[in-house]
Symmetry: C2
Subunit: 440 residues, 2 copies
């Protein structure tokens, strides 16, 4: 026991030396700056400070819990290059995702399985088993592959140069949304090779007519998709099966008591794209296959009830979103509407109703104009608070007695966890207790 205590003290000493060395040697090229008023902070944030706009990059500080430290002090160039690399990786992943999925699905045909696992031969000849394997296994594999997409996208966003978890999650949400639309909607509709999909995108003139042929053919698939993926995902949300298993496995090895239980936060980048994708299905299919609507309605009611319960009883918000996910929802809705109108144009052209297809065009233009108007009218409020609001809040703060306490807290609120004093051993001489126990 004493020996380990000694060892731990040695390690602590080394860590402390390392920390002090780092903080002495390296000038950290980033800082948190606090302002007396919100208005003052907003001024500093909105003005370009130096003549070289890439030299001083100013961002609004996230909440202390929300800071993501790895990119905190990196330069503009490093973050810009990270961003470019991630965008390329993300596009490649989105385009090439289906290749491994199709390959793995190919391995699940019966003859292949019998060659690999000869001992299964007698088992696989049972009709029920073979129908499950051939009928259900491929779509299960697709679903499992899709399950790992949100974590991958979150990882990609985390190396993209953001300094807070909320930005990472927002960016991942966007990535997962477009990934889902591309790899479920378009890949199912144009059930061809990747090159075929890309070739359709490169031929914008014929997109409506090709959509008009391909989209209605998949109506029954998507009605089934709403039931299999939508209903089950909402139901499994209620049981939280994966966290349950994780917890069951981890419990015996962790020293945490039940009191230390960390309240989970909802992974927005997993759930928002899914709901938006069902909205896309509803908007594009409501006039082709109205049968989808009752299933969607049930899904939405179910989701409302279950997520309401989850928000109240299960999840705790990790940060204040400030409604910043709404523009993603808006853009997705506008895209769905334009896609629906494009399909309508294609179908009316296919059915030789030229008047109807001509009458759809103003609708597309009006939708895009509405989008443009909303960008002018409402988007600025998602980017920054107006001066009117800031000054009003500042005046309220002036009369607030608790502000002194707040300023005192501010000094120690933001601390890099790598620089925190450590106190595993008993000779704890931590100068100030950290406000945050971990960044996650």
């Amino acid at each position: 026991m004493d020996q380990f205590e000694k060892k731990l003290e040695d390690i602590e000493e080394n860590v402390r030396l390392e920390q002090s060395e780092v903080s002495m040697a390296e000038e950290v090229r980033a800082a948190f700056v606090s302002f007396k008023t919100r208005y003052g902070a907003a001024i500093a944030f909105h003005m370009q400070q130096s003549t070289n706009p890439t030299q001083w990059v100013i961002e609004q500080a996230p909440e202390p819990k929300d800071v993501y430290w790895p990119f905190f002090s990196s330069s503009f160039m490093r973050r810009w290059i990270s961003k470019l690399v991630v965008i390329v990786a993300c596009i490649l992943l989105t385009i090439l995702f289906l290749i491994p999925v199709v390959l793995v699905q190919g391995l699940t045909n019966l003859s292949q399985l019998e060659i690999w696992f000869p001992f299964l031969k007698s088992f696989l000849t049972i009709t029920f088993v073979s129908s499950v394997v051939t009928g259900y296994l491929p779509s299960l594999i697709l679903l499992l592959f899709l399950k790992i997409v949100p974590p991958i996208m979150e990882f990609l966003s985390s190396i993209q140069g953001y300094i807070c978890h909320s930005d990472i999650e927002k960016s991942a949400c966007n990535k997962v949304l477009w990934f889902t639309i591309w790899n479920i909607f378009f890949a199912t509709v144009f059930s061809g090779s990747v090159l075929y999909q890309v070739s359709i995108l490169l031929d914008p003139k014929n997109i409506p007519s090709k959509l008009a042929v391909a989209v209605p053919a998949q109506a029954s698939f998507f009605v089934a998709y709403v039931v299999t993926s939508g209903w089950t995902s909402t139901a499994s949300e209620l049981f939280r099966i994966i966290p349950l298993f994780c917890s069951l496995i981890r419990r015996p090895f962790s020293k945490d008591t039940d009191d230390d239980f960390e309240v989970p936060s909802i992974p927005f980048h997993r759930d928002i794209p899914r709901i938006l994708f069902f909205a896309l299905l509803g908007i594009t299919y409501f006039f082709l296959a109205p049968l989808i609507l009752p299933f969607l309605l049930i899904y939405l009611c179910l989701a409302y009830v279950i997520f309401r319960n989850q928000f109240i009883n299960v999840y705790a918000p990790r940060y204040e979103t400030a409604g910043k996910f709404w523009p993603i929802v808006h853009n997705s809705m506008i895209f769905s509407l334009v896609l629906m109108q494009a399909i309508a144009v294609g179908i009316f052209t296919l059915k030789k109703l030229s008047v109807a297809s001509t009458l759809i065009f103003p609708l597309v233009v009006l939708t895009l104009l509405f989008n443009e108007y909303c960008r002018k009218r409402f988007l600025p409020n998602f980017i920054a608070y107006p001066a009117e609001v800031l000054i009003k809040r500042d005046r309220e703060d002036q009369n607030d007695r608790t502000m002194g306490e707040f300023y005192d807290k501010l000094v120690t609120a933001y601390q890099d966890p790598a620089m925190l004093p450590i106190h595993f051993s008993d000779n704890g001489e931590s100068l100030n207790s950290p406000l945050i126990s971990s960044t996650v």
Copy 2:
């Protein structure tokens, strides 16, 4: 004489009544606000003031001479709708411009002329005349039609909702540039109908291969174009023929003496697009027809000498451009480079040099990345002055003794010419002499 004097006084009285009525009755929904410091003005400009971003639209005040009054007090919606209407009009003009040109050119064939003007019959049979009429008249008509494009575009920009002449000219410059590239470069290269041109744009996959076939075929035309249009336009710039004729015609009817002669300003929206178009020709044709380079070099030297002379001796700047035309030049250059690389890809593919055409792709990507980097690094400086510069200038101003005088002038600097006191008659009781005599 007395009778007219009386009449003039009556009219003046009416105008004054009208002015006072307007200024009493209608609340002008716009104002010039002056600030003690540049920094303060920049803060007000960069912050969104009210919760509704379309309610208080804040723009930096132009120079007093530069104000364009018609849209001064119009609302966000009116300006937004004007802008949309102008964009549509501009696209229609750009796409449909060639139809009247081709129609008028068709009228210049000899048999048509002989039918319309029988008395010319004997004259037109002379070989020299007929060759001039058939060979030169069509391109002369095209050039004359092109001459009226900059004024049309300036008119369109002026009803687009800008509040200063410099913005109008910048917007017109952009419009004329894209008009020129579309209606001279693409219309000549794809010498087909409008629909054919649009169909090529709608088929982006095949653009390089189509360019590779069509662009080299027009090399000799564009070499000739540099000589006929480039050299002559620069030479005619020296003589300023149209202003000379205008002046000759107007002189007898105007009461202006030579002392009142207004120094002209250079129409940027006419000359910048022309020079950029020749740059585009140089960049796209230097590897297809290197013969174009000496002609372009002579054009550029000629233009340098002549415009240098014009700037020093003829033109007076109407406003400080603050280098805001440079982003247009930058964008045009990037477009030229990408177009050149697309043509190169097409030609290498056509000649079955697949390695070469593959090696061009990274070049396109690098060009676009360079553009993106410049947008981040340099574009902000064209949009707003950084705080560093503003505060430095403000400190200089604090020690400046002449600032008091400047503030005094400021009060009367911005006056709507429609509201200026008029004093044609002798009983001039103008309260303060206006700093600006007219808005143009």
